[in-house]
Amino acid sequence: MCGIVGLFIKNPALEAELGALVAPMLSEMTERGPDSAGMAVYRDPNDKGCKVTVLAPKLDFDWASFEKSVKSHFSLKKFTVTQNHAVLSLGNALDEVEEWLGLNWSDLSVTSAGTNIEIFKGKGNPADFIEQFDIKNMTGTHALGHTRMATESAITTEHSHPFSTGQDLCLVHNGSLSNHNRLRETLKREGVKFKTDNDSEVAAGYLSWRLSEGDDLDEALNHAIEDLDGFYTFAIGTKDGFAVMRDPIGCKPAIMAETDDWAAMSSEYRAIATLPGAENARIWEPEPTQIYSWKRS
């Protein structure tokens, strides 16, 4: 069992309150996933360069040296450290930055890359995560959150969701995949790199691979229905919005709701009930294998 929440702001006036709206949703999903929590937030676009989130192996990481080192190679526009995460906005191309990070700071892992996305995650109770990362004060256009109850692999920050699946893309998963070991080997041969033995990371790697092969998101998800065996409700964050898809048997729960101000998805209605106007929202359950998506127009 895991909990998923997603919130997409339709009324720009509410963008300042994104964190304040999504934090209670995530908190409400604690019983579905008390082991760890994570969130992808889309905000402060850096269209002329790139934005990456890096995760350090320990809390007392020497961020000052890292910042100095980055500044000596790149034009660093903004650098924000929260706990063991740092978000870097740079005036350089993403490929160049990622290559340099891999060569010079290999103990840091890149958890998100793009122009808008930032990903934060942490082991432990979702309430602590919300507090430590000051989720309530986050602004932005949309966010995806996850609370994890581990069934397939260890409980670590690296094993926590969301997983990056490409530029400004991320995946959160409720369910379990049964063919992830074999699929991971296949994907490794295709050049996909994995950081953990987590089954959801394989789903993320699979989507990254399909997208790199030229699929659009809908095509990649339709291929996933063919190649992934198991139970899943996926929520995929994109630069402009997010998409939701359930497995062919519809085994894992999902509920969606929409008002003039926002569109939301969650594993259970009680997370959506925390939103203003939820009681009068249009509410429905997504059909299996159908892709539901919201996009900024």
Partner: protein
């Protein structure tokens, strides 16, 4: 009438109050905000009106009580109900009335997948559409669907009766269309009247077991 506000009372307090009610007592429950296991395990003829959407397992194991939910219900509504009546004005999520032995469940909106799975005598009336794998291994009782059904309706059904007014997307293994005789029309009319569904009996078709799975068929031994 007793009003219970779930912003002030816990779910356990609510259920204790409802379970200790006497026949004819009336309760109103407010501020449900999708909470789980509301109004479960009732054993007397109390009337419960729940205002708002409810989470998992509402009205589970109900006996005799009359429960009205003004909203949508999450997974496992009226699971293993024994008797009484449960009505939801909105939609119900997966496996409503699973394994239920008796009573009447009315879903005015749509029901999701696996509605009436392994039902054992309950009557279910769905005003709208119904999801895939509904009435899977249904043993007895009646499932009435006023809208359309999803895939694999009545897969491996035993002796439950299924009436559908709209389109059947596909029938499950060993489920077939059957003749609508007078006794079926009468039974269906009674259920439609009881559940306040204003549809003509003539518009429904009946489905049930072909009874081909009841006995082992030696010609299929190669399948194992």
């Amino acid at each position: 009438m007793t009003a219970i506000n779930l912003k002030e009372s816990s779910v356990r307090d609510l259920n204790e109050k409802l379970q200790s009610g006497s026949s004819g007592d009336k309760f109103v429950v407010n501020n449900t905000v999708g909470k789980h296991a509301l109004s479960v395990g009732l054993t007397s003829e109390v009337h419960v009106e729940i205002n708002g959407h409810v989470g998992y397992y509402c009205a589970g194991m109900n006996q005799q009580a009359n429960i009205l939910i003004n909203g949508n219900a999450g997974p496992g509504l009226a699971e293993n109900m024994m008797s009484g009546e449960v009505r939801v004005t909105g939609n119900a999520s997966q496996y409503a009335a699973a394994t239920a032995h008796g009573g009447l469940l009315v879903i005015e909106g749509d029901a999701s997948s696996r509605c009436g799975i392994s039902m054992k005598g309950v009557d279910i009336v769905v005003g709208g559409n119904i999801g895939h794998m509904s009435a899977f291994m249904a043993q007895s009782g009646t499932l009435v669907v006023c809208g359309d059904t999803g895939d694999a309706l009545g897969d491996s059904v035993y002796e439950a009766k299924i009436y559908v007014r709209g389109k059947v997307k596909s029938l499950g293994t060993d489920c077939i269309e059957k003749e609508m005789r007078d006794e079926h029309k009468q039974e269906l009319q009674e259920l439609l009247t009881q559940s306040n569904m204003n549809y003509k009996v003539e518009d429904f078709r009946r489905y049930g077991s072909a009874r081909k799975l009841y006995n082992f068929d030696i010609d299929q031994v190669d399948e194992y």
